[in-house]
């Protein structure tokens, strides 16, 4: 009884132990890091190119002429040479190739070349792109030496920020990573600590219940933030994920991550309380995480959903976390600019913890 009992010390000891334990738990690492990273890699590589139109050159076509030369300069067009006529025909039928072009010198003089293009009904949308590219090209080539008599078209493009697929995908994946760490991690830890009587042994020490909850919470938030930083850095340096204000943006994202995580951990406390056995935790957790995974704009913007589905999407907390993350990262919004999203998450948080306090079990 020499000195008063130190709750902070107990909380930190627990946080340290829990953090070590999480780092050594394969499922936590897989859910928090591996899954989001795989999605980011896939979409990061997919998203780079934009639209490509495959255009085959018919065998026997003239290759050294202004038309083919100009087509080779156009990014959207991908030219396929050295294919047999049969091969091209099947590719056309399957829609793998949008069209086939055959350019011949005109024996009769003018115009100097004749270009025959055959489109396919199996790839109409790409065919239309090609059609407009060709029309444009022909106009430029034919009118090169002619002075405009009616009007001249001057085109220019505003240099904007490039919005890449990664700018949409990464915040969604980050949000989902936080959701699964928060719900699954918390539910499993408290359920198994209760089941294996670890908590009972803790209660035989002077540690307070608040210390146990805070210690676990600190460890989980710490772990999730490490994961978030890792995901953001990979996205930024390998896939040019946009961070408008650099470090400040990252810090804002991490603050949002903490808010989201605290709400999601509340779901985890509820699951650990209502689960009857270890095997009922995943299904109950999935009921909470899967709808949010699909409906909260993780992969697609919720604007793309049918209108009857959108109200549901707009009720879910992950929607607002994703939304706020994207605004902060791409638009450079501050936390005050996303106060609406934070407020809705806070309302969810209050509701969730009211339920959690009711259903949570210590033993």
């Amino acid at each position: 009884m020499s000195k008063p009992y130190n709750n902070t010390k107990a909380t930190l000891a627990l946080a340290k132990a829990s953090f070590r334990s999480i780092m050594r738990s394969p499922s936590a690492v897989v859910f928090t890091l591996a899954f989001p990273l795989i999605f980011i890699l896939v979409f990061g590589f997919l998203g780079g190119g934009g639209v490509k139109v495959d255009l085959a050159i018919a065998p026997g076509s003239d290759l050294q002429n202004p038309i083919i030369n100009a087509l080779e300069q156009i990014n959207v067009i991908h030219i396929i040479e050295d294919k047999e006529a049969d091969e091209i025909k099947t590719e056309l039928e399957k829609g793998h190739v949008a069209a086939v072009i055959n350019v011949q010198k005109n024996a009769t003089g003018t115009p100097a070349y004749l270009a025959n293009v055959q489109y396919t009904s199996a790839s109409i949308d790409k065919g239309s792109i090609l059609k407009s590219v060709l029309t444009n090209l022909m106009y430029t080539l034919n009118s090169k030496d002619i002075k405009p008599t009616i009007a001249q078209l001057n085109e220019s493009t505003v240099q904007g920020r490039i919005y890449r697929t990664i700018d949409f995908i990464l915040p969604g994946q980050l949000g989902f990573s936080l959701l699964s760490t928060g719900v699954f991690g918390t539910a499993f830890v408290f359920f198994s600590l209760r089941q294996t009587l670890v908590i009972k042994r803790f209660f035989a020490t002077p540690v307070s219940r608040a210390s146990i909850v805070f210690g676990e919470g600190i460890a989980r938030i710490g772990f999730a933030l490490c994961g978030a930083v890792f995901i953001i850095l990979i996205g930024h340096f390998f896939f040019h994920f946009t961070l408008i204000h650099g470090v400040v943006t990252v810090l804002n994202m991490l603050l949002l991550a903490i808010i989201g995580l605290v709400v999601f951990m509340g779901f985890g406390f509820i699951v650990s309380g209502i689960a009857k056995s270890e095997s009922t935790i995943p299904p109950i957790s999935n009921i909470i995480t899967l709808p949010q995974f699909l409906l909260s704009g993780t992969f697609f913007s919720i604007d793309a959903f049918p209108s009857w589905l959108q109200p549901i999407s707009r009720a879910l907390p992950l929607t607002y976390l994703n939304d706020a993350m994207r605004k902060v990262a791409f638009e450079g919004a501050g936390l005050w600019d996303v106060k609406h999203q934070i407020l809705i998450m806070a309302i969810w948080g209050i509701g969730v913890y009211i339920v959690a306090v009711k259903v949570f079990k210590w033993e």
Partner: protein, 256 residues
Amino acid sequence: MDKTNAIISVKNLVKKYDDFTAVQGISFEVYQNEIFGLLGPNGAGKTTTLEIIETLREKTSGEIIVDGYSVDKDASKIKRIIGVQLQAAGYYPNLNLVELMELFAGLYGVDVKPMEMLEKVNLQDKAKAKYKALSGGQKQRFSIATTLINSPKIIFLDEPTTGLDPQARRNLWDLIIDIRNNGTTVVITTHYMDEAEQLCDRVAFVERGEIIALDTPDNLIDNLINSGFERQKEVKKANLEDVFINLTGKEWREDN
């Protein structure tokens, strides 16, 4: 034994569950620096009684004072001066013994060197092992080490030797006697009467939630003999366990 020196006093302890009474009006005292045994069949109320004294369970009625503190008002103070080994307890997953010791040091708010604690129970070689990877005897020794972290005045051991082989059991007895010799009071439950006879200064027999006898092992045996009891078979100077120990060696073994 100085009888005024009670460190635990239990008066009329009653514990009722919904439809049955686990403990019905138990009273006893545990003296400072003794090894006190609670004996009795399964379901007699031993563990319930212990867990109420340890402040892990609410009592229905009665009065319990542990080193001057009442379990009703000063549960947290009691927790700081006792060490508890539960009959069934788990340890934090994925941590090795040193890390678990650090955790418990934090939970008790004391500074201890984890290796020194492990040396006390001869587990220094297992410092980097996980609790799950330990043998039964090692698990019990580790559990006892966690009860010693806060240099408690009293430790409670609930069936510490159940399921252990004879060597591991004797190792544990030596350890328990060492702990007592260092000034700690020990309260122990067991099913083994030879163990109680060897270890305990005094024992209480618990049956259906009541204490039916309480005395030193010697006195209890003498009373029975005085009442005219005779064993059906004359006891030899050694028993089969002595043979087992003699054949397999008494020293610490790697796997116990």
